[in-house]
């Protein structure tokens, strides 16, 4: 809040009240889809057909969630999205970890160990941020084939690492460029080498940008559908692909409650990450320099 002292006139109070009213209404409006998803996911199917979207459930039930997790049909199989949920983690965790580590090393090398052409390398890496995913689908499929990684989780990890490095390098490069280079000079004189300086001097001050990189990469990779659908087999599909298959399975009645529950399950991890680390995300993005 500003700390300017003002006399509150009745007009000003009214304006302030109106402002808050508008903000609250907008916030509720944006929360509406989430609310409808949540309500629908705990209603029995007959209530969904009978009532309105916003009606509270008369007989709330967790059955759709259980169904979505372990029984619902995704294409030919009827095992729910649970297995694919763990698939996603098995892809996301190594991909986030590797791309963050490589991005940090790249950013460190590009700012503190400049070499002839390092700016060009950075410009080319930056270019990688703008390559549309569709362009690389075929060459990537070919490459994965050559590497013997087709339809495997390791293959998806590789794809996400390759794409993520452009962004993580950008993040870390822009963060490290603001860290005084004299720190590195001092450490060199003290006798530390490339990795020692990174590990002991740079990494301990990198927490804000690591958080940014992890959140960004986590949401990107978790929410990815295109690479997931293109480069996975049945048993290596991420949860986004399974969700799509579940919703599109066209046998019998549309089980909206199960669909909604599955969608909630698929969205939950990114929500949790934002809630837990969201404030660090903003802080990290705005962190210009390291205060000595």
């Amino acid at each position: 809040m500003d700390n300017v002292i003002r006399r509150r006139t009745p007009g000003a109070r009214l304006a302030r009240a109106a402002l808050y009213a508008v903000l609250i209404v907008m916030a509720l409006f944006y929360l509406l889809p989430l609310l409808i998803m949540l309500l629908t996911s705990i209603k029995p199917l007959d209530e969904i057909g009978a009532g309105t979207l916003l009606a509270l459930p008369e007989h709330p039930t967790l059955a759709p969630w259980v169904n979505a997790w372990g029984e619902a049909c995704t294409g030919m199989r009827c095992e729910g999205v649970g297995g694919y949920f763990w698939n996603s983690f098995a892809i996301v965790i190594p991909a986030v970890a590797i791309s963050t580590v490589v991005g940090a090393l790249n950013g460190y090398a590009l700012t503190k160990w400049r070499f002839r052409g390092s700016e060009l390398v950075f410009a080319l890496m930056l270019f990688g941020c703008f390559i549309p995913f569709q362009v690389v689908l075929l060459p990537m499929a070919q490459t994965l084939g050559w590497l013997g990684l087709s339809s495997s989780r390791a293959g998806l990890v590789l794809v996400h690492v390759v794409f993520g490095i452009a962004f993580t390098t950008l993040f870390f490069r822009n963060f490290y460029v603001a860290v005084p280079s004299e720190l590195v000079s001092a450490a060199k004189l003290d006798g530390a080498g490339f990795f020692r300086i990174f590990w002991r001097i740079l990494l301990p001050v990198s927490a804000p940008i690591i958080v940014v990189s992890v959140i960004w990469q986590f949401t990107q990779i978790w929410n990815d559908f295109l690479f997931g659908v293109a480069f996975s087999a049945h048993d290596t599909q991420p949860v986004t692909v399974a969700l799509n298959n579940l919703v599109n399975t066209s046998t019998g009645v549309k089980e909206y409650n199960v669909n909604m529950a599955a969608a909630m399950i698929a969205a939950l991890p990114t929500l949790v990450v934002y809630v837990l680390a969201g404030k660090y995300f903003v802080r990290g993005l705005t962190a210009g320099s390291v205060k000595g």
Binding site: E182, L183, S185, A186, D190, A192, R196, R200, I201, G292
Partner: protein
């Protein structure tokens, strides 16, 4: 054998030559100051000594060993940076011990070194703090402590005081001088502050455009400058340069100074300061260099003595500094600054008789700016 020797070091950044065949040598225990304006190459030279910038050509020797192509870690030097460059994630203790740790010094010895240095710099109570919790002066001490812990052959100081406020800067300057006297360390110190250079150095290298113009003791550089740049750079307020005509005959020279609206002034050039170069400039224009303290108010007791030359002129500005008074007065084609005692009873616009100490004056060639006498 010199503690540090630099032989014809050259450094190019692209097509720009920032160090042009720089050579110098200092003895063990000597305090060398590299001084000059921004962009003169002094920091580049320091980085070359530290091994942070590879040189294009030439040799650097420490204690007789050619270390030109060794890494910074292999050179046995320590450096104090302008920004202090304290590792932000480490405590003061860890900062000081880091260099020893990297050199695999046993833990007990490390602890001993930290205690010794902390005691020396009176920072024992700060050892567990992080750099962010320290004031500017404290950070400065820690930065020096980090350098001192390793006891290298040479210490490099890169404008270490320029981030401190004026009062602290003077205190730390004295402290560095005391430290040097006590430890007898070999120090190369970069600064653009000529007062720091004068007060600290055993020898001063005045640099400009990648050259060392003059290398000498503070007294030599101050009183016996090789050219107008060195003369003007050292000293504050800086030396006055007055255009004059060299007259007379070989062995008996006079300087004629024409001041608009004032009578002409003819100053005799002392016979013991005549050089062979002067003969070639007879009848030509020369530049007379006079420092502010070479003027003094005419003292009744000295009346009739021949050691100075009288100058009577109208004072335009009076600037009392407390310890003394700076006067601005027209002389020749420009205004000059004179430093007189604090009790000098003069106001702006009044006429004043000043004695000029020609025994300490210097003469320059106006074209080449080189020293003539």
């Amino acid at each position: 054998m010199s503690a540090l020797e630099i032989r014809e070091v050259r450094k190019d950044f692209g097509s720009t030559r920032v160090l042009k065949d720089v050579s110098l040598a200092i003895d063990s225990g000597e305090f060398l100051i590299l001084v000059g304006p921004s962009g003169c190459g002094k920091s580049t030279l320091m980085n070359a000594i530290a091994g942070l910038e590879p040189v294009t050509d030439g040799q650097i020797l420490i204690g007789g060993d050619d270390i030109t192509w060794r890494t910074p870690a292999e050179r046995d030097i320590a450096m104090v940076f302008q920004s202090y460059a304290l590792y932000p994630s480490m405590t003061v203790r860890q900062n000081i011990a880091f260099g020893l740790e990297m050199r695999k010094v046993p833990k007990a010895e490390r602890a001993e070194a930290v205690e010794r240095v902390a005691d020396l710099l009176q920072i024992t109570h700060l050892l567990e703090r992080k750099p962010a919790q320290l004031s500017g002066g404290q950070r400065q001490r820690v930065a020096m402590g980090r350098a001192l812990a390793r006891e290298p052959q040479i210490y490099l100081f890169d404008e270490p005081l320029s981030n401190l406020d004026a009062k602290l800067r003077v205190e730390m300057r004295t402290e560095i001088k005391k430290l040097h006297q006590r430890l007898g360390t070999t120090i190369v110190y970069v600064t653009h502050d000529q007062i720091e250079a004068m007060t600290l150095a055993d020898s001063i290298a005045v640099m400009r455009d990648g050259h060392i113009l003059q290398l000498g003791s503070p007294d030599e550089v101050y009183n016996d400058p090789v050219d107008m740049f060195v003369a003007g750079f050292m000293g504050s307020p800086s030396m006055n340069f007055i255009t004059a005509t060299l007259e007379g005959q070989v062995g008996d020279y006079r300087l004629r100074i024409t001041t608009p609206e004032e009578q002409e002034l003819v100053l005799p050039w002392p016979a013991d300061r005549v050089t062979s170069e002067l003969a070639g400039h007879l009848g030509q224009q020369v530049v007379l260099g006079l420092r502010p303290e070479h003027f003094s108010e005419q003292d009744a007791r000295l009346e009739g003595q021949q050691e100075g030359t009288l100058l009577e002129t109208r004072v335009t500005v009076v600037e009392p500094t407390g310890a003394d008074i700076l006067l601005r007065l027209p002389l020749g084609d420009s205004e000059v600054t004179a430093r007189v005692g604090p009790k000098c009873p003069v106001a702006a616009g009044e006429r004043l008789a000043l004695r000029v100490d020609m025994g300490r004056a210097v003469l320059f060639d106006p074209q080449s700016e080189r020293r003539l006498a």
